[in-house]
Symmetry: C2
Subunit: 403 residues, 2 copies
């Protein structure tokens, strides 16, 4: 028996959770697309979260970080089309008003609601209109509303992102669900990236937070599209205990099993975000092995994943390993050029810092595929790191040359 | 009287220096363009140099760094079309053979010749053919050969880069000349960037090296096109003393005057490199003021200058200051969002971390121009830093998607 199975239903797959969306018209241009999402649990939840490390934090990030201290989070309200970032004290008040509107409609206290925004920076929210829209949303909450919520948080995403899994703990059926949005400005340590995770597991806050942090480190923090890190990134995770298991302790044999299932959910969402990166034509897994230290492995992998020149070469189907050598060299990782091996899909491009015997055409055939791996062996130790990245296309530039 | 005047003649403007180029056919595709440059001084010179900090250093970088210790450098031989990087011990031997060929033809010792290469990484030099070409070059050396040398080091550059100035020290006419190549992979701390500086000033090696380091820090280390730093970058500077001045000491009143003239030469070459960056349509001066420390100012300026999203916005003529706020925020510089002011050409876009009252159209008009400045005031201290950068265009991607 496998340890977990993938199921349908996203964030509303776990017992109790319901979700919906609404169209408010937050963007100046009327797109007609839903732009507010609401997720709700009818029973108390234990909340965990990870937040952007950008020093310029959007108002909803600040408000949600404060509300995280509540012991009974019940809802998440999120909008697309406006980031409510660089909006000063008015922005903080608007983010609070979003939580207040949702709390009022759901008969909760303000601090029981978390809030997120994504979109253009520096523009005031049309808050009065949003309050009106939010007040009507509870009656539209659905047991299969996950996809609606996933749609409402999309910005330049081309498809909604959701996943759910089911596993058994102490003979109880436990589910984990998630939705996410990504597209541009994706970089390790949180990007313009929102993800909401739900589970019906019973777990204490401290353990839930640790689990989420591990899952995020292995997923959302390992993806990069353009190296820019956003002001608005958040991963919020709610556990409502409706599965009926005895509170899952770290000492329990299935603690690790649940962590693996959670890692699968965040990992799959992260992969979808990269695949849907703006103008992306290639999905590239970069592995660095044999580094002297973990930090060296990470620096080398991130330098490759963010090298503009390397990403342009990939876009053109060019296995230009010289640019990879160059990126490793300036990464600040310890490197001995004469020891470096580089592989595309396991086929040697570089041996001992020099061109391998592999015919160029063979490497070219790999890099022309929509997905491939780059593996670098520094041969200085045993530390490893991996990151998912993309190419850099003319379409990316076109998509970002003006909003 | 101005402190110096700009004159013609590039690296051959200073007394004694001669230069030339030749076509060898180093690239696989026969371009017919000159690909080897030779610069020569008939009398001993004092040499200074700055070299790429990339840990993957091309063979000519290693050979020139070793030869720098010679007390009587007389020539520089440089090729385009092949970087002689990631070429192992054979590459080192080939770089040495380039210096040996030039030395033999000029009746010098190998260690009196410096060597540079630029072009594709990981391909062996056609060294036998190059030796033959180099052996014929001395007879073609010309008193006005600077432009020929500038042409031969071009890669994807669209125009040759040279500059020269003249000043008076102790009633002697002193000249400084320079040529450079740039285009892609330009980043602070040396990029795929070569520059050769000559002067007929009499100066001791230690002072000359210090002067060059200061000039490079204020010029070539302040430019960025794509954030990638190359394996081959070098600035080489030769002073042959033919101006006839008494050796210029640090205590001399005109020491500073000469430094300023040298700064002008390297500054102008650096500016030309950015203006000629691959696919560049905008030249942008980024100034960060009011930082708590010099390192903070530098980190914030470099984060802006290398932000893919900000550069795409500029390409589209979009004064998207939200992306600048975002870049400052993730730069690791100390930032208090509510204190940040941002200006385009001195016109406020952001005051106290929020949109200013300036109409969007007014900012847009500035960013649609081919040159503009971005000034960020962090209001946390008095440290400053500036850097020259560019936009990121669809043409840049096209130029780099395959060589």
């Amino acid at each position: 028996m496998s340890l977990f199975i993938e199921i349908c239903g996203g964030v509303t797959a776990p017992e109790g959770f319901v979700a919906t969306n609404a169209f408010c018209g937050i963007k100046a241009t009327n797109t007609g697309k839903p732009d507010i999402a609401l997720i709700y649990s009818p029973v108390p939840t234990v909340a965990a979260g990870t937040f952007t490390t950008n020093k310029v934090k959007a108002a909803p990030v600040r408000v949600s970080m404060a509300h995280m201290r509540s012991t009974d989070i019940r809802a998440i309200v999120a909008n697309s089309g406006n980031a409510n970032a660089c909006t000063g004290l008015a922005g903080i008040e608007h983010a609070k008003r979003m939580t207040r509107a949702a709390a009022k409609a759901l008969k909760l206290r303000e601090r029981q609601v978390l809030v997120c925004s994504t979109g253009r920076i520096g523009v005031e929210l049309p808050i009065a209109k949003m309050e009106e829209t939010i007040s009507d949303m509870p009656k539209a909450l659905l047991k299969d509303g996950s996809l609606k919520a996933a749609h409402a948080i999309m910005t330049s995403d081309t498809f909604p992102k959701e996943v759910a899994v089911e596993l058994t703990i102490d003979d109880k059926r436990v589910r984990i669900g998630g939705i996410a949005k990504g597209a541009g400005m994706i970089d390790p340590n949180m990007a313009t990236m929102l993800s909401f995770i739900t589970t019906d597991l019973a777990i204490v806050k401290n353990d839930w937070q640790k689990m989420l942090s591990i899952a995020v480190e292995q997923s959302f923090n390992r993806i990069t599209v353009d190296g820019d890190m956003s002001t608005n990134d958040m991963v919020l995770a709610l556990a409502n205990g409706l599965a009926g298991n005895a509170v899952l302790k770290r000492s329990h044999a299935d603690f690790k099993k649940f962590q693996n299932a959670l890692n699968y959910v965040t990992g799959k969402l992260a992969r979808m975000i990269v695949e849907d990166g703006e103008g992306v034509t290639k999905f590239v897994e970069v592995n660095v092995k044999g580094a002297a230290t973990y930090q060296d492995a990470r620096k080398a992998a991130e330098a490759i994943a963010n090298s503009t020149l390397t990403k342009c070469a990939w876009f053109g189907g060019d296995p230009n390993w010289g640019r990879i050598m160059d990126a490793i060299g300036y990464s600040s990782a310890r490197v001995r050029e004469e020891l470096v091996d580089i592989y595309y899909n396991g086929v040697a491009a570089v041996k001992n810092g020099m061109a391998s015997n592999t015919p160029f055409a063979e490497l070219e055939k790999i890099v022309r595929q929509p997905k491939f791996t780059v593996t670098v062996n520094l041969q200085l130790g045993s530390a490893e790191y991996w990151v998912f990245t993309t190419d850099l296309s003319t379409r990316y530039v076109e998509l970002n040359m003006g909003e």
